[in-house]
C-alpha cells in the first residue's frame, strides 16, 4: 500500500511551548500534510506561532493535562474524517511539542504501521535519561507486561502512530500522563498488533514530563484498569 502524505495527521499537544513549537511543526510538515496542535491553556503565544506555521489549532481555555489534550486532537480528526470515504487509510501520529521527538522518524513509523495496528516509539534507557525515570519506566513496563501481556520497551514515550479506524478501541479516559499506559492497556485488551521504533533519548533543560508522583499514579491506575477492563 502506498503511503500518501495526505493520509497522515500529526497531533501535537502543547502547553507553553512557544520556544519549540515552530520548529516541531516546520520539521513535521515535510512528512505530513495536516498538523493539529492542541494548545492546553498556554499562557504564552504557542497557539499564534502554531497558526502562523499553518497548523490547525485547537485551544483549551483551561489546562487539562496531556491525556485530555490528545483526546481533543484525536476526537477532532475522528470527526473531521468521519465522512471521508478513505478514512480507513488515515493514520495518526502523536508527537510531543517540546522537541523530544524527531519528526524525521515519521516515515519510519508510518512504514512500520503498514502491517501493524499501532506503533510505539521506544527510547534507549541510557544515561541521557535520569536514573529515577529509568528505574520507574522499567518498573511500569514490567507491570504492564504482567497485567496486559503487552511487551513494550518504553511504555511512557508519547511518540506513537496508529490507524484512525482503531482510535475507538484505544481511546483512553485518563486526563494526565497515565494516558500512555492506558493506551497500552487498551491495546492488550483488544489484542491489537503492535510494533516498536527506536527513537533517540532527548531531555531538554525545561523537562515537563512524568514526575515520581505521576509514576505512582500511573502504577495505581494500571491496577485499576486491570480490574475495570476484565
Amino acid at each position: 500500500m502506498k503511503n500518501r502524505k495526505s493520509d497522515v495527521w500529526a497531533i501535537i499537544p502543547a502547553h507553553n511551548e512557544a520556544k519549540n513549537i515552530g520548529k516541531v511543526i516546520s520539521e513535521s510538515k515535510k512528512y505530513v500534510e495536516k498538523i493539529v496542535v492542541v494548545d492546553d491553556g498556554s499562557k504564552d503565544n504557542t497557539a499564534e506561532i502554531a497558526k502562523k506555521q499553518g497548523a490547525i489549532v485547537l485551544k483549551h481555555v483551561v489546562n487539562l493535562g496531556k491525556g485530555s489534550t490528545l483526546k481533543t486532537g484525536c476526537d477532532f480528526v475522528y470527526k473531521a474524517c468521519a465522512k471521508n470515504k478513505n478514512n480507513k487509510k488515515i493514520k495518526i501520529i502523536l508527537i510531543d511539542a517540546d522537541g523530544q521527538h524527531d519528526p524525521k522518524l515519521i516515515p519510519t513509523f508510518i512504514k512500520k504501521l503498514e502491517n501493524k495496528e499501532i506503533i510505539f516509539g521506544a527510547r534507549d534507557f541510557n544515561k541521557k535519561m535520569p536514573l529515577v525515570l529509568r528505574v520507574g519506566n522499567n518498573f511500569i513496563n514490567f507491570i504492564i507486561e504482567l497485567l496486559f501481556q503487552v511487551k513494550v520497551r518504553d511504555s511512557q514515550s508519547g511518540y506513537r502512530a496508529f490507524w484512525l479506524k482503531n482510535y475507538r478501541k484505544i481511546r483512553w479516559r485518563a486526563q494526565d500522563y497515565s494516558m500512555e499506559s492506558e493506551m497500552i492497556a487498551n491495546v492488550g485488551k483488544h489484542k491489537l498488533k503492535y510494533g516498536q521504533v527506536s527513537i533517540p533519548t532527548v531531555y531538554n533543560d525545561n523537562y515537563k514530563g512524568t514526575t515520581i508522583v505521576d509514576g505512582v499514579r500511573i502504577v495505581y491506575n494500571i491496577f485499576k484498569w486491570r480490574v475495570a477492563k476484565w
Binding site: V38, I56, V57, L58, K59, H60, V61, V62, L64, S68, K71, T72, D75, F76, K79, Q175
Partner: protein
C-alpha cells in the same frame, strides 16, 4: 453537667473553639451566598450539635455504653472517622464528575471555536 467533677476540660475548650470557628465560617459562606439555606442549616445544626455534645458529654453515655466503647473520646474518634470517610468519598465523586464535565466542555469549546473560524 459540663464535666462531672473537674469543671470544663482543655479538650472541651479546644473542641468548642473549633466548632465556633466552623460555625462562623459556615455563616460567612452563607452570607456570601455560596451556600443554599438548606446547606447552611445542615452545617449549622451539625456544629451546634457538636457543641452540645462537647458541653454535655454524658448525653452520649447511652450510645457509648450501648455500643460498648471504653471512653466517650473513643466514640467521638470512631464516628468522626466514619463521617470524614463519607465526606471524602462524596467529595471524590463530586470532583471526578466535575473534572469530566470541565473536560467535555473545554473540548467542545476548542472544536467549536475552530469550526466557527473556518
Amino acid at each position: 453537667m459540663v464535666n462531672d467533677a473537674m469543671g470544663i476540660q482543655g479538650i472541651q475548650i479546644i473542641g468548642m473553639f473549633f466548632c465556633i470557628v466552623m460555625l462562623y465560617l459556615t455563616f460567612l459562606h452563607y452570607k456570601r451566598k455560596e451556600f443554599k439555606v438548606e446547606f447552611f442549616l445542615f452545617w449549622a445544626f451539625a456544629w451546634i450539635g457538636l457543641i452540645i455534645m462537647i458541653l454535655y458529654p454524658t448525653s452520649l453515655d447511652f450510645f457509648v455504653r450501648g455500643l460498648k466503647f471504653g471512653r466517650r473520646l473513643d466514640f467521638f474518634i470512631v464516628f468522626g472517622s466514619f463521617f470524614i470517610l463519607v465526606l471524602q468519598y462524596y467529595n471524590y465523586i463530586i470532583i471526578n464528575n466535575t473534572r469530566r464535565k470541565v473536560e467535555k466542555i473545554t473540548r467542545k469549546i476548542a472544536i467549536q471555536n475552530h469550526n466557527r473560524k473556518n
